[in-house]
């Protein structure tokens, strides 16, 4: 049947060869060949040389920072993003549509603009920084600043993946839980949360992936102190400025490798969450 329909479609709908040919050519020129160049370039001076580059304390510190803070930011976004999606879907209040549209602001606002704006807010003499700093909370030019910037860029991913699931949720599960005597909190924990889990994990994965590579919104607020507040993408820029192309490519390759390993695990978790509740 499948084979038959392939044959049928190929005979009648035109343009398959052309469309696939253009797609593969363009994909190769823009993405595949350049990424191949990145990986081969990083091993130009041998595997051991690459290994030494990416295991220097400064590079390791930047990796721990980039992946660690991205994880924390995406996790906190998961809580507030779910709350925002819940309120936007379930409750009615004036200005709801505008707030809903504004959720995508971190996506639409250029990262450099976000970066200087967050710095203006959280710097020691800034809009909020002037009140936070006397309380002992220094945000700008520390890891907390990186965390705030990554939370900002990741937020829409959580809201936009949880929101449609919440919208399409059938009321009868909640009705059943309520009729069996479950409290609202029990219903949320035992019925709603497991249903939302796959979407939450998808949102987390997207927010995390975005945060790990993020550059523009972070560098203004990070302070970029080596070993302390220097993110991995910033280290690539530094290597490039030193004309160390092999080193820059090496860090880039290592970033891609770690990212893909993490994404692989997260995708596995998503599949597990989906299967577990069917």
């Amino acid at each position: 049947m499948a084979l038959l329909s392939i044959g049928l479609q190929r005979r009648t709908l035109p343009g398959f060869g052309l469309a696939l040919g253009v797609t593969l050519t363009y994909l190769s020129i823009i993405v595949l060949v350049p990424l191949t160049a990145l990986v081969t370039r990083s091993f130009d001076e041998g595997f051991m040389d690459w290994w030494h580059t990416v295991t220097t304390p400064r590079v390791l510190a930047s990796f721990r920072l980039s992946f660690g803070v991205s994880f924390a930011a995406a996790a906190v976004d998961m809580v507030f993003g779910t709350l925002a999606a819940w309120v936007l879907v379930r409750y009615r209040f004036p200005g709801r549509r505008i707030v809903d549209a504004l959720v995508d602001l971190p996506f639409a606002l250029p990262t450099a603009v976000a970066g200087i704006t967050l710095t203006a807010i959280y710097a020691g003499n800034g809009w909020l920084g002037q009140y936070l700093e006397p309380m002992g909370l220094t945000v700008a030019y520390t890891r907390v600043g990186i965390f705030v910037a990554l939370m900002f860029v990741g937020l829409p991913f959580i809201v936009r993946t949880v929101q449609p699931v919440l919208q399409d949720l059938d009321a009868e599960f909640e009705e059943a839980a309520a009729s069996l005597g479950a409290s609202r909190w029990q219903t949320f924990r035992r019925v709603l949360l497991p249903t939302l889990l796959p979407a939450l994990l998808t949102g987390f994965t997207l927010a995390f992936a975005r945060a790990v590579g993020e550059y523009g919104s972070v560098i203004f607020i990070a302070g970029n102190k080596p070993m302390i507040s220097e993110i991995a993408p910033q280290l690539i820029i530094i290597k490039l400025e030193e004309y160390d192309y092999v080193g820059a490519a090496g860090i880039g390759t290592a970033m891609l490798l770690v990212s893909f390993l993490v994404l692989l695990v997260l995708n596995g978790l998503q599949r597990w969450a989906r299967v577990g509740h069917r």
Binding site: V31, A84, A108
Partner: protein
């Protein structure tokens, strides 16, 4: 309880199905406070900082020659990158959504790949290819074609980071629409081009516009990728976000925010258009 599924009207719900009024108000207040802090405050700050010293300095900052050159360059980059990704998106969606072939889902993941690559790496790969010591560097240098630190590099880096936008909007929609209408057109004797212009394109035009809108917004605001390939030559290879960075690092804070306010305005315009498309053409977009 004869309410139809998906009815979100609260009148039929009794208190066991929703939260107490007190909890509802608290949750709404916390969510709105959070969103105000994270979304609305930054917007207020951009415009306030831009206008802090008055309208005259604001206008002189955005009409300053380097700022105007940056604006023109940014628009030029968008005008080159977006149509290319749009055409690619059409071809990719046609092949992936309308045909079944081995490796189809792998191809779909490859198209999404640029979303999980850091923008800095997106810039770096072209430096490795076309830079002075790159794979094709000498070939282009011999022919006096400058790719890196010039317009072609900016366009390539922008294409990379905005690569999946149009294809991602089109593939699920065209899959959902199936092949019946196109097959009918063919049976009635339409040529391939006629079928595309009269059947396929009208069916996907709003999704195409939606994808292009997202693509343009990201292209206009891209910073990391273009920062690597630009070389930061004032008035020549500085796009608007790079101009913001340069002004900021020179402590021309007000001028930086003035240029940034233009980008923020375009972001607000994007959000308005996006909401309008989602509201007006919900059924003609894939997942809304």
């Amino acid at each position: 309880m004869s309410a139809t599924p998906n009815t979100r009207d609260t009148t039929w719900r009794d208190t066991t199905l929703t939260e107490t009024r007190w909890l509802r108000y608290t949750l709404t207040a916390v969510a709105l406070a959070f969103l105000a802090l994270f979304l609305i405050l930054p917007l207020v700050v951009v415009f306030t900082e831009a206008l802090r010293v008055g309208l005259a300095p604001y206008f002189s900052a955005i009409t300053e020659p380097d700022a105007v050159a940056a604006l023109k360059l940014s628009l030029l980059v968008v005008a080159m990158a977006v149509p290319l990704n749009l055409v690619f998106g059409l071809f990719a969606a046609w092949a992936i959504a309308k045909f079944r072939f081995p490796g189809r889902s792998f191809l779909t993941s490859l198209i999404d790949l640029p979303f999980s690559v850091s923008p800095v790496i997106a810039g770096l790969v072209y430096v490795l290819l076309f830079g002075a010591h790159g794979w094709f560097g000498t070939w282009f240098a011999d022919r006096d074609i400058q790719v890196i630190f010039a317009l072609p590099g900016l366009v390539l880096a922008t294409i990379f980071v905005t690569f999946p936008f149009v294809a991602r909007e089109l593939i699920p929609l065209m899959e959902q629409q199936g092949t019946d209408e196109e097959l009918a057109a063919r049976t009635l004797g339409a040529s391939g081009m006629q079928m595309f212009w009269r059947v396929t394109l009208p069916n996907i035009k709003w999704a195409l516009l939606y994808g292009s809108l997202l693509c343009s917004a990201r292209a206009l605001g891209e910073f990391g990728a273009v920062s690597v390939v630009s070389g930061h030559i004032r008035g020549e290879t500085n796009t608007m976000p790079l101009q913001v960075e340069i002004l900021y690092s020179e402590y021309s804070i007000q001028a930086a925010f003035a240029v940034a306010s233009l980008l923020a305005l375009s972001a607000l315009l994007t959000l308005a258009l996006k909401a309008l498309l989602e509201w007006r053409f919900a059924r003609e977009l894939a997942h809304h």
